[in-house]
């Protein structure tokens, strides 16, 4: 998805103004001429300047360009769906891994991704399970990362 530079510029300009407003509330340090707000403030000013230039540049190209160009992959349902599934899998892991545990989440995420990318059906579950167990062994046993057990807590090893 490609936004016209004017839109990106406006968003960035808003961001830099927000930063400038935030740094204004930062206190000065007594006896020093430069406080914690100085450096981010300077950066925000530069960002605002760049945003304005970007807006101007965007307005120039606007003549031959839509505001938002939907890229080829977003028009293809297969690719758009897979994009959403990937983002969904990561979000699912963030919210569910504590409760379900790594092993269950890992197998689920891999299976869904394999299915989305059209791996042959009979291979999906076996590969998902083997890979999850291998990764678990490397990180949990080998590197001592406390991956959550979740629901499988009673049978942990």
């Amino acid at each position: 998805m490609k936004f016209n530079d004017t839109l990106s510029g406006l968003a960035l300009l808003a961001l830099s103004l927000l930063i400038l407003l935030t740094v204004r509330t930062y206190p000065d340090i007594p006896g020093q001429n430069i406080g914690p707000g100085a450096f981010p403030g300077l950066l925000a000013w530069l960002l605002a300047l760049c945003s304005v230039l970007l807006i101007l540049k965007g307005l120039k190209t606007k003549k031959h360009e839509e505001w938002v160009i939907i890229g080829g992959w977003m028009k293809s349902w297969f690719h758009l769906r897979n994009f959403l599934i990937t983002v969904g899998c990561l979000s699912f892991y963030i919210f569910a891994s504590d409760y379900l545990g790594f092993l269950i989440c890992g197998v689920l995420v891999l299976s869904v991704m394999f299915a989305a990318l059209e791996v042959r059906a009979k291979w999906i579950l076996p590969i998902a399970i083997i890979v999850t167990f291998v990764v678990h062994t490397i990180f949990y046993k080998g590197l001592r990362v406390p991956l959550p057990w979740g629901l499988l807590m009673p049978i942990q090893w």
Partner: protein
């Protein structure tokens, strides 16, 4: 004293554990580089969570080895499929593919391998010879010089080799602003944390890099509409045949490529990609038979194959001497050095010289074992290229999840890879380069510290930034880089009349 240090470094490197790490990361790098869509930077980003658990020397050894291997092995799919495995091979992919079509795949790959190794060794020698001396000069630097060095590095990242300087600038500023998040600033004040305790110590570098360089590349693979092409050849013969002849025929091309690559590597902000493009162009210019370029002629591969590997070592010179990365790979490596309490900078040559010599040794070792391992990879390349990418990609995703979780043992890391993965995917779709942002994040704290210290020292008078002799020279070079694009634009304008309307 030096021999004692060398001996110590020798023991550090020739330890069975370190050697095993080097071997494994070499195979990992060769594999990742060989698969189109997985770059050397991604190899580094995927390795970093694992190096998190290692002592400093094997951690750095893993990164150095994996990247050197990945840059060579990017040549393999270039020659066989006409898609570069890593961007650094893109300059001569067409040439190598043409050679394969002519039945000369062996020569293309052999030249890529042998001259990559020689270029890498050349860059390493330059690094060994020059960095201790540079470190001695760097010891005299104060906050003013360091401020300018950082600005010089960042200016290089923005103004060299980006199609849109403005967008690179924005990307850099966003990176610098991300570095402002948290407590880590001269005033020790909480900034931009939005009340989240996870943000108090700033945004963790490793999950951010995994998101920017691994998750976003996964998303790009998943949304890629082009089906993978067919392999051009099945048989690959002896890749070392005829290499001695090439060495005798093109010694100058090899030397030019290595020198140019090393220099481009040292220049902060430009790395292997640019080294190979520029030296390919230079090779054509100086060649006795430029008309053969593009039709399957090996000369350009000799020169730019050497250049992209020598630039890797070159990029480490500013990284270890000043703590200023030369490209996104060394930016990641510097992040690792900081995590290991091995802060780069001139003091490291005094406090831990054995670690520095160990890094030198690893470079030499990596470039030597590249030859047999690379040969092996080429042998099995047609099989590696058939690895089902729809199985590989989800597995990489799972590695990203676990790797980012393991940094703090919390899903906050997973959230960060999701956030930075999606953001950099959208950024790249809109033509904003990501590399300047990561340099900004890595250098932001250092830049602010030196800026604030200098301002306090000078009582708020910015002119002091120009009065010390070295600072003045650094300032002048920075300003030249800053004005360079304006100058070339004006020159074009005068020479060719007004610029045509942009046609995008």
């Amino acid at each position: 004293m030096t021999t004692a240090v060398l001996l110590q470094a020798f023991w550090l490197v020739f330890d069975p554990y370190v050697l095993l790490v080097i071997l494994c990361s070499a195979m990992f790098g060769l594999f990742v580089g060989c698969i189109p869509g997985l770059s050397a930077t991604m190899a580094t980003a995927l390795l970093v969570p694992i190096t998190f658990f290692m002592p400093p020397v094997p951690a750095i050894a893993a990164i150095v080895t994996a990247t050197a291997m990945a840059i060579f092995s990017g040549d393999i799919p270039g020659a066989l499929l006409r898609i570069p495995g890593t961007p650094a091979s893109a300059a001569y992919t067409d040439e190598a593919y043409q050679m394969t079509l002519k039945g000369q795949a062996e020569i293309a790959l052999g030249a890529g391998l042998v001259f990559s190794a020689i270029g890498g060794l050349f860059g390493t020698i330059v690094m060994v010879l020059f960095s201790p001396g540079l470190a001695e000069i760097a010891l005299k630097f104060s906050s003013f010089e360091y401020f300018w060095l950082v600005v010089l590095g960042l200016a290089g990242a923005v103004f060299i080799g980006n199609t849109s300087v403005l967008k690179a600038c924005i990307s850099l500023l966003l990176g610098l602003l991300i570095a402002c998040i948290g407590l880590e600033n001269p005033a020790g004040m909480l900034r931009f944390t939005f009340g989240m305790k996870e943000l108090m110590s700033g945004v963790e570098l490793i999950p951010m890099m995994v998101g920017m360089f691994a998750v976003s590349e996964l998303l790009r693979y998943i949304t890629n509409l082009d089906p993978p092409p067919m392999i051009a050849t099945e048989k690959i013969g002896n890749i070392f045949a005829g290499m001695w002849g090439l060495l005798k025929k093109y010694p100058w091309a090899l030397f030019r490529g290595s020198v140019l690559g090393t220099i481009i590597g040292i220049q902060p902000g430009s790395g292997a990609d640019m080294a190979s493009w520029l030296s390919y162009a230079m090779s054509k210019k100086f060649s006795k038979e430029p008309e053969k370029f593009g039709t399957g002629h090996v000369e350009g591969i000799v020169e730019s194959g050497a250049a992209n590997n020598s630039s890797l070592a070159g990029a480490w010179i500013p990284a270890i001497v000043f703590g200023i990365p030369g490209d996104s790979i060394t930016a990641i490596a510097i992040g690792v050095l900081y995590l290991k309490n091995m802060n780069p900078g001139p003091m490291i040559f005094i406090n831990n010289p054995e670690n520095i010599y160990a890094i030198f040794l690893v470079f030499i070792l990596a470039n030597i074992i590249m030859v047999p391992l690379g040969w092996l990879t080429v042998k099995i390349a047609t099989k590696i290229l058939r690895v089902q990418r729809n199985i590989l990609m989800p597995i990489i995703l799972l590695f990203c999840i676990v790797g980012s979780f393991s940094i703090n043992n919390s899903v906050w890391g997973v959230f960060l890879i999701l956030f930075f993965g999606v953001v950099s995917f959208i950024f790249e779709e809109n033509g904003f380069p990501v590399a300047p942002a990561i340099l900004g994040v890595v250098l932001g704290t250092m830049m602010e510290e030196n800026f604030v210290t200098s301002m306090i020292k000078s009582d708020g008078d910015p002119l002091v930034f120009f009065t010390r002799p070295i600072a003045m020279w650094l300032a002048i070079s920075t300003i030249i880089i800053l004005l360079w694009p304006v100058g070339t634009w004006a020159y074009d304008r005068i020479k060719n009349g007004p610029a045509p309307e942009p046609s995008q």
